[in-house]
Assembly symmetry: C2
Homo-oligomer: 733 residues x 2
């Protein structure tokens, strides 16, 4: 990973160095010198001999070394020359600040493409163009011009320079543990999200990564890199552009529901990313993830020095699904012995004045709470840190000692401990001590609770992937499927008929109810008596009628030969009334399914960013009105399938409500995995809806299936769609 | 309103004055002197002659004046003596800090009751006990000991002293417009929420009120006072204790769903209260409401100096249901002329560097935007205020001038203008200028957007109450209802039979489908042929069977005499199998209702805090699984009824989905109002469920009704339940 060496360079060039203190070509060099950057700095500017005590070179060629990294501050027009010179000089990575490229229109786009192609010839990578730059506090290399940076574990990867500035400013006005590296991806003409993820993954200085993302060009590469990243380090992401409704002219439910944010939520969760709904949560959530161990469970102990804050914390935790720990009798007794009579010793704990004159009692309480096996995480809320401000200045020393003790207890326990203080923004000494010793401090209870939830989410992810079978949702191509696809394509079609779609999924061992596809009504006469004795569902089969119900193409509960013959006539008449030119391919008969059961929908769609997606939801009003569905990218691991079932809002419906039996979740998970295997093995499937699937106490019945293939002409495997924007990393480095 | 004069006193006593700087008896006097309190201060302490230059009196009796207000700092045990002396001295209001009363157990409760009774004899009111105190910055009277108070328009009424401290500390660490009065309600032994609301309503120094509430003892008095308050000033409330599930052993859906927070949400909204979900929103939302005019509509213009913040703002606004204003062509042209080529001039506006060297361009843009009639509110997001910090110190003056200009434009426009700045917590001069001139500044885009939403909600409330008919949902008692109630009670029952309940609601002109209640199966023989020719629904009538379906007590689609007779037998057999001792009162027959239609549920329950509540929701899975219901207190205004329909999550279902016709909303609103009139006129109704009500394109059919009365013994009007805790204000003052 050569970005790692480029961002910890032994030497760097500043192309377009400047004597103007408002220019980056000056600011960056000033920062490097002030911060004590250990490598060599080579300013380049033909009009300067010296800058801030450094020799200035008239051209890149004249630089008497081969720096690995170049900061390019010159305007867009100069870029091709600069790249040529840098390339010849052996520069591995250039950070290009100038704007005027793809973001500025066609001409800029053309220049950008040329620049990328040229850099590629030299095996040189580009950051940007149109980036606000890069910093790496651990290398004392600040090429952005942000001030008041503290070195620490938090990385920032951002598609907006202003958002990075927001985060850095937020850090500087609040207590926080400090930043490691920042990369502004700018236009991402060359290096893109996933490659920066690899950098942050390998950077020992980064404990957790904050990412601000507007859009992605290669979602699948991102997900792959994210999965690999989050297997070791937490990744906190805010995705803007939520309100862009993914406007598609798709015919299927699945396609229509694949609005970008709902999809992003699903696939990011699947990749272990902690997606936050508010940008305000990025920094505080990352603080917790970077500094705290992963909790073994969800149960939280809340310690407070007043009822108000305790109640608010309990409310917030309840809303987030984090239960209050049920303390053991011995813990409660020990707390009782420690605290005044009025104290509440069942969780949440209210010390009731028991710390007012003796803050160290907080540490004693925390020691007891962390030792209780029922406690997975601890949250202290209230006034701690401000006792000297609020009560008596003489408490200052005791409070700092308490902070030291708390941080030590937290570390020793291996459990997450977060502190809320209403004095957090005053940054008093005890709170500074806490943060320095690795215990994060929050000004907002709501944010602290959201951070506890993120710790739980990430811990649960790490736990479930540790023993997951990643291969379950992959499949081998099936000859039966391939033949059917060939047949359909040979007929010039992309949409499969219902019986074809069902045959196709059955090749992957999806259990289907008995069905009989008759192409002529005469065939009714030779149906077995057994079948004629049952009430049957009749559906017209026609490649020209996609939504059979709308066309009067479905009849239910038809029993006996006469009823079936009359039904056939009716179906054909309805179909021809609905679509006079329709080609009719017969009728599909199947015994009526048990009417008791919960209907769900499974759908597959192909997303330009993330590839094949699988959607799951409850049928009917839940999917059509409430849009209560979840998405995952394919292939699916077994735990992903379980996570999908648990992810719908109305999850309780799966347990059986209003007299319905509970759903056979095990069978449903298998079905999701089989569809995943099918589509992974046969990426020529563009859309697939099993809708509805009626679920019973045991098993399920696929009542309808729709499937559309990519046209053979377009591509056999849609992955080839993607523009091969980036050279393979392996080739370059 | 004598609290008003008490909290702007000409003179006050501090009972329990102290020379110890850590005691309130010292701190309060120091604050009064330092802040320049204009009235006379009388410290009382038998062991001091002089305190901070003031004469100190040995007893209350010796004070040479009749101060209206007393701050009582002495311990609980002294309270009765102090009240006696204060009462004789003519003190009107005493603020009692001591704890050790109701919150400390039975003994304390007894002492508290005695204190209230004694005070009442002197027509004296008590704040507290167990209160953190009171401040009034406009009277320069700080009796709490909070520091760094700025005088301004925001009142605070809090059930937790720590929450008030949180708010004041938040204010002191951020830019904000300042506080007016604070009251800690403490134990609310005498003065309670609603009476303080009246104070804040009449206090000219308060522009908006922030309230932190844990629980209420007199919810109806609060709602009444709140309605009156919010007709003139905004009230922002955070209600904690959300997770206390209102555990009731109620038999009805309505009762079971009346969990406290869901109810609080409904009734607070009905009273015009802005309920915030997070305590973090209290101060910022109140800032906007106190300083900004009410918007004429929901449309927002977003002005940004970078894409990231613009996108985030657009996302947040979209999530809150606030549309981006569609700017006129002329506004867009004028913006284009003003800004560089790359600027985005359709909303959200991105100045694309057009302000970097000339911040005043912000004011020019804002002038154009505010002049556009499509813009109801404006939000500026990004770096403004920090240009001198980020770009060049020389911009400082231009930025302050820009701030002055923006605040002036905002005022002149009569439209709300809010500013987000990532430098807000740095409090640079331009942002200070904005806040001083009445334009609030936010560090968080999410919070700024939530504040815009609160402005819209409150404006819409003010608009709808201005032309509402408040009497629609009240009714006059009906003789028919009274007779039926008497009959039921005479039989020793409280639960009505289904046909009785239906008769009862029909007295208030609720349209009911045709029904025939037969008490003997022989009566089937004399049914009109017309009825026998139709398919009928049959339901067993029994006071011992509440849930008929569970008992097999409902048969559908029975047609003809024989089927009805067989049905009767079956119903009776099922009922006796289910409840062998059940008294059976016959069978109810009604023609089958149109099966097409959307089922809703209306329910009435009696809530100890808020009195009679009306619940509305969609039937079936929506109420049982999703709990998608709304509550309002009775009586209902017409606009409340419309607001209920609009308030359910799945509101789209009312428009007709999955082939259902749309619901006749007008008829449903009338039905809600009729039920309101019925229950208002007959408060002896304890529970009422119309479930389901099937709604059609025209009208509705009430398919089942359940009603339970309060027992005659308990009370005729349940309002008499309430302990008459407070003396009537009119009697006292």
């Amino acid at each position: 990973m050569s970005l790692l060496s480029s961002f910890y360079p032994n030497a760097l060039m500043v192309v377009g160095a400047s004597a103007d203190p408002t220019k980056r070509g000056f600011q960056s060099i000033r920062s490097l010198l002030r911060d004590g950057f250990a490598g060599d700095i080579y300013p380049v500017n033909p009009r300067l001999n010296e800058l801030l005590g450094l020799t200035c070179y008239a051209s890149i060629e004249e630089v008497p070394a081969n720096p690995e990294l170049a900061l390019v501050c010159t305007p867009a027009a100069s870029l091709l020359d600069v790249i040529q010179s840098c390339g010849l000089k052996g520069v591995k990575t250039s950070i290009v600040l100038a704007s005027g490229f793809a973001e500025a229109g066609e001409e800029g786009q053309a220049l950008q493409s040329k620049a990328v192609a040229l850099a590629k010839r030299f095996n040189m990578r580009l950051v940007g163009p149109n980036t606000s730059g890069v910093f790496n506090t651990h290398a004392k290399m600040n090429l952005v011009g942000f001030t008041h940076l503290t070195a620490g574990p938090l990385g920032i990867l951002s598609q907006s320079g202003n958002m990075a500035l927001s985060l850095v400013t937020e850090g500087s006005t609040q207590l926080h543990s400090g930043f490691s590296s920042y990369v502004g991806i700018g236009n991402a003409a060359d290096l893109d999200f996933h490659e920066y993820l690899d950098y942050f993954a390998s950077d020992k200085g980064t404990g957790a990564l904050i990412t601000y993302m507007e859009g992605l060009t290669d979602g699948q590469a991102f997900l792959k890199a994210a999965r690999s990243f989050t297997a070791n380090k937490p990744l906190v992401l805010y995705k803007s552009g939520k309100s862009e409704s993914g406007q598609r002219s798709a015919k299927s439910h699945t396609g229509a529901l694949a609005g970008s944010y709902q999809v992003a939520k699903g696939v990011m969760r699947q990749a272990g990313v902690v997606l936050v709904d508010q940008p305000d949560h990025l920094l505080p959530v990352a603080e917790a993830l970077a500094t705290q161990p992963l909790p073994a469970g969800r149960r939280v102990a809340v310690l407070a020095d007043g009822g108000g804050h305790a109640t608010i914390a309990a409310d917030e935790l309840d809303a987030l699904g984090l239960p209050l720990a049920e303390l053991s009798a011995s813990t409660q007794a020990a707390l009782k012995a420690l605290l005044p009579k009025g104290a509440a010793v069942s969780n949440p704990i209210d010390v009731a004045g028991g710390t007012d004159s003796n803050p160290m009692n907080f540490a004693h309480c925390i020691e007891l709470l962390l030792a209780d096996p029922s406690v997975d995480q601890l949250l202290l809320v209230g006034l701690f840190g401000g006792y000297a401000l609020r009560f008596d200045a003489s408490l200052a020393e005791a409070e700092v000692n308490t902070a030291t003790a708390i941080a030590k207890l937290a570390k020793a326990s291996g459990k997450p401990v977060l502190v809320h203080s209403l004095f957090a923004l005053n940054k008093p000494a005890p709170l500074q001590e806490l943060v320095e010793e690795g215990t994060p401090v929050y000004a907002s209870i709501e944010t602290a609770c959201a951070s506890l939830k993120a710790l739980v989410d990430y811990a649960e992810y790490r736990k479930r992937i540790s023993d997951d079978d990643w291969l379950t949702g992959r499949g081998e191509p099936s000859l039966r499927v391939e033949r059917l696809v060939q047949k359909v394509r040979a007929e010039g079609r992309t949409a499969l008929l219902e019986p074809e779609a069902k045959q196709l999924v059955s090749a992957f061992e999806v259990a289907l109810p008995e069905q009989h596809w008759l192409t002529h009504s005469k065939e009714l006469d030779s149906l077995p008596d057994e079948l004629l004795a049952q009430p049957l569902a009749m559906k017209v089969v026609s490649q020209d009628i996609l939504h059979k119900s709308d066309a009067g193409g479905v009849l239910l509960n038809k029993q006996g030969l006469n009823a079936l013959k009359a039904g056939w006539q009716k179906l054909y008449a309805n179909a021809l009334h609905f679509a006079p030119e329709a080609r009719l391919d017969g009728v599909l008969l199947s015994p009526m399914a048990d009417p008791k059961g919960t209907e769900v929908i499974l759908g597959v769609t192909y997303d330009k960013q993330y590839g094949h997606l699988l959607m799951f939801g409850l049928g009917g009003i839940f999917v059509e009105v409430l849009k209560d569905v979840v998405f995952r990218s394919l292939p699916l691991a077994r735990s992903d399938a379980w996570d999908m079932l648990a992810g719908i809002q109305a999850v309780k419906v799966l347990e059986g409500v209003r007299g319905q039996p509970p759903v056979d979740k095990g069978a449903l998970v298998e079905l999701l995995l089989k569809i995943s295997a099918l589509v992974t093995a046969h990426p020529e499937i563009a859309e697939l809806d099993l809708n509805p699937v009626r679920c019973f106490r045991d098993g399920y019945a696929v009542l309808d299936a729709r499937m559309v293939l990519f046209s053979a002409a377009a591509n056999k495997s849609p992955q080839q769609d993607k523009r091969p924007k980036q050279p393979q990393a392996a080739l370059v480095h």
